[in-house]
Symmetry: C2
Subunit: 345 residues, 2 copies
């Protein structure tokens, strides 16, 4: 574990979802509050109610959204705040039922912008069939925030009856399905920040709960784990899962869907699409016997049209992720580190 | 309803918990996301799981904490973030079971401070018998935050079997019990900010779930409503409840407990203790038949030692709150407005 020195401070890199984020979490944050539920290492906590021995299987998760700019092609901080949390629940195998909404607004935010963000929140909530049931609003002085930061927490009902999905269910010999093109969200934000005119780019901000329900319906207990590829992209989530499950992962680079527009911006900026953040894409670990059925079901769903098998888990090289290049060689996929792209969500 | 103009912006006053906060919520935020659960107007949402018709009665709530300074006599932003949310659940008649933790950290925060805040969170969670089960950490650039902002959301199990507590249960003819001295939290923060040396002042930051369980055990369905007096103090919460329940409220000023230190700082700064924020005090609306039993139980609990009956609800003057002065006259208690004290929690 990283040893921090007495004079260390929090850096931007610690919030970017890569290696330094892991070091902060493992070194400072998790040790203080550790418990068995937190240790599940899942996108959301699985809980049973009543705690005295009940039958309601719920999932609970939270995320804060600090993206800049607040509005971008394909979405805004408002719909991101709904979709991101709905998706974390979905990845736990839970259908989102309700969200909380915590707003931290900087003094001076135009009310018209706030109104637009609230409308985006409402529209996203309706699309994902979830209600905002409780909330809180704080205002901080000008210069102590950046327009608006949003936290949502969500409660969902677990729909996997008799089985669970999660990192602990990953074993060697599974297929890995990706739900669609990678890099659309980060590509869009990067183009905006660099003033690059790329009209065909749009964030993929979208709810994945409907897609998840299809996946579970068709794959049942053959579905072992779901994970959305947000901050740090495929590279970060696959490394995290390989490490947690102690399996190796081998990807086939030619099967990973990337749009021409994202390819172009990646070439321009020297970025790697598989390390770029998405806001509506997930990986699914399946037993080979259900892979075809799950894939077909995903392709029939709006959020999974471009789904593809992109790799598999192996016994060899536990904890490592490799990708086959076009020349047939294997290249190690590292956990992204450094500042990546701060405030991408 | 307040009409906002096209060029209006969010002001600090809109976040201070007084009149302007209500205008922002009613004018912009609630209309966008309205639904029947949100409309309960409670400190937390009451939910039933499974949604298909289940037996788990849960409460769900959220709060963000932006207090400055981060450390103060009697507590820190860390324990406040636990106690505040535990207390909102308690006021809904729910025993807190688990919390989410969303950290928005400003680049440059010393890791030692973060470590102390995490330790305070852990200690407060242990004292309140609640687990942090899921979390998220974001880092914003220097100058776009203020050290750390914390959001917690909480799930609790409702312990009032066969009855509910809430604003809708308030009627004329009830007693109003206050759990202890008012103004300690805000008095402490004000003294710090003004550089006033007042060693006997300390925030009352504390969990109220244990006290709530005593109150419900002794008062049962004779307990009609609980509410903690946070931002805007007694003045804000009693006005809100009088207005929601369409009853009048008359307080006896001589029975409202105020510590000598808080009295002194209020005189110095021209503040009114009943409009000052608390972080571990609540009001309880009781049927007269259970008032004595509830009061005795409260006084036997650490968090209710100084509990006192401070007033009653009336049919007269619905929506208004009045306080009897020492000369016997009645003075109207208005909803605090203006900037009050920004970032008090």
């Amino acid at each position: 574990m990283t040893k921090f020195s007495d004079n260390d401070v929090v850096t931007l890199a610690m919030g970017a979802g890569g290696r330094e984020t892991g070091e902060l979490l493992d070194g400072i944050i998790r040790p203080a509050i550790d418990n068995s539920v937190l240790a599940q290492g899942h996108d959301g906590a699985r809980l049973t109610f009543p705690a005295s021995g009940g039958s309601s299987q719920l999932a609970f998760t939270t995320d804060s959204y600090v993206i800049t700019p607040r509005f971008f092609p394909g979405g805004s901080i408002g719909d991101l705040a709904v979709n991101g949390t709905v998706n974390d629940l979905a990845m736990t195998g839970a259908a989102a039922r309700c969200l909380s909404l915590g707003l931290i607004i900087e003094e001076g935010l135009p009310l018209k912008e706030l109104q637009q963000i609230m409308a985006d929140i409402a529209a996203a909530a309706q699309k994902a069939s979830v209600q905002i049931v409780t909330g809180d609003t704080k205002v901080v002085p000008a210069g102590r925030g950046d327009g608006i930061y949003i936290n949502t927490a969500g409660i969902g009902e677990i729909i996997t009856e008799g089985f669970t999905v999660g990192p602990e269910k990953i074993s060697p010999g599974l297929d890995i399905i990706l739900s669609g093109t990678v890099g659309d969200h980060q590509g869009t934000i990067l183009a905006l920040r660099h003033g690059i005119d790329a009209p065909e780019l749009a964030s993929d901000s979208q709810p994945l709960n409907g897609l998840m329900e299809e996946i579970i319906a068709k794959g049942s207990s053959g579905v072992r784990c779901l994970r959305d590829a947000t901050r740090g992209g495929l590279a970060a989530v696959l490394n995290e899962l390989a490490s947690a499950a102690k399996v190796g992962i081998v990807l086939d680079s030619s099967s990973i869907p990337v749009s021409p527009a994202v390819s172009a911006i990646c070439e321009l900026l020297g970025s790697d699409p598989i390390a770029m953040a998405n806001e509506g894409k997930c990986v699914v670990f399946t037993e080979p016997s259900v892979t075809e059925a799950v894939l077909t079901a995903m392709r029939g769903h709006e959020a999974g049209r471009d789904a593809a098998v992109i790799g598999r888990t192996t016994e060899k090289n536990p904890g490592l992720v490799a990708v086959s290049t076009e020349l047939g060689a294997l290249r190690l996929v590292e956990i992204p580190s450094g500042e990546l792209v701060p405030r991408i969500c």
